[in-house]
Amino acid sequence: MTRMRNRSQTIWFAAAVLLFATAPVLIAMAPNEATMGLVAKIFYFHVPAWFVMFAAVFVCGIASAVYLFTERARADRLAVSAAELAVLFGLMGLTTGPLWGRVSWGVWWQWDVRLTTALILELTFIAYLLLRRYGGPGSEKLSAGLALFGMANVPFVYVSVNFWRTIHPETTVVPTLEMPMAGPFWWCVAAYFALFLVMLDGRRRLEEQRAAVDRLRLAYDDD
């Protein structure tokens, strides 16, 4: 228990350091883009947000598969925590994207394959949360099934941009990033992942405590 608390404190500390230093790192190291100016900096938030969203979807999908086939309630609690974060970081991506697109493409939204499939993925996980909330008894299993379909969609979203000619920058942009952009970019990715781990850990513990309260209440009612 103490070891777990120590580990969780380490992640909290890492996230705090990385996030507080993000703005100074960007100001000191990220190069200025001549045509887009300050708006180009959205790249450093937009791409990490989608990376984390995809990671959250995979955590949710794998935890759902474990829950579905082994019925371990802990896996389900992890899945629902990850699904909420997938929606949150997806919203972040869907908000920062149009802000960048307005300046770069001249429109807020483009019905482009990449954007459309990303929106579908976001909708799938909003549907997951709706199902959890309004599906009644047994909705844990149903939502686990839905999460598997959502996870199957991720590779498609990621590579869709390479299949079709689209307006969205291709996935080769990130692996071929060079200094001075690469440093601040990977810093932001690390900061977002640390934030994700902190939030996932907190959210999962909340679910565990809820389950413990339910168990106590049931035990009290039985007495």
Binding site: T117, A127, G136, K141, L142, A152
Partner: protein, 227 residues
């Protein structure tokens, strides 16, 4: 394998027999799809002439809505006298039951598709039937993917009180890729110079999704339907 096919066939035959006797699903879904086409005709006909290139969207949206209606009702029927539980308690492979239900829904949707394509061709002076083979291939492939996901979700939700609301909420985000590919493939066929290469590409994409969806649905039906 033979036993699997036999069970699937028996479940499908049971569904078809119920349907032949009541004709409830065929009548309601065909009527609903016709109403959809009519509503679209009010939206997309200007000064007596249909707008160019809207037929593809009309066909697929009408089919998706009608399919959703059929899916919901197909499992609601099983709730009477606890038939769903009896079906699941049968000492057979559950995936065979799933395939049987799926085949029944695919057949029903095929009937609706024939009617919708005929109506759209008639009302919108469309060239849909000129590329009948490729259109049929697109429709058949997309129906399998749509119905596979739909059958699984409808079965999952059968016991949920808010199933009528939740089925479309779950069904559309997951099946949109298939519907988008279907619409895009049909648009390629309806061009002044039908673009068969593009239609083949979209057909291949639907086939890819069919494989993913069928694998996932067959894999998860058993644990999802456990009480």
């Amino acid at each position: 394998m033979g036993e699997f096919c036999r069970i699937a066939w028996l479940v499908m035959r049971k569904d078809l027999r119920v349907e032949v006797r009541s004709r409830e699903l065929v009548y309601t879904t065909v009527f609903f799809a016709t109403s959809c086409v009519l509503v679209f005709s009010f939206a997309f006909v200007r000064e007596g002439r249909p707008l160019a290139g809207v037929e593809a969207g009309i066909v697929w949206v009408a089919l998706a809505y009608a399919g959703q209606l059929a899916l919901g009702r197909a499992f609601e029927r099983e709730l009477g006298q606890d038939a769903l539980r009896a079906l699941l308690l049968a000492p057979v492979e559950r995936s065979a039951i799933f395939v049987g239900k799926l085949l029944g829904i695919v057949l029903l949707m095929a009937i609706v598709e024939v009617v919708v394509v005929f109506l759209v061709t008639l009302f919108f002076s469309s060239a849909l039937i000129e590329q009948a083979f490729w259109l049929a291939a697109l429709l058949a492939a997309a129906t399998v993917g749509f119905a596979a996901v739909g059958t699984l979700f409808a079965a999952m939700l059968a016991r949920s009180q808010s199933r009528a609301v939740l089925l479309p909420v779950l069904l559309y985000p997951v099946t949109i890729p298939v519907l988008v590919a279907g619409v895009s493939g049909t648009i390629a066929l309806l061009a002044a110079e039908p673009n068969l290469d593009q239609a083949r590409f979209w057909l291949a994409l639907i086939a890819f999704f069919d494989v993913v969806f069928l694998t996932l649905t067959l894999w998860t039906f058993e644990p999802l339907m456990a009480e």
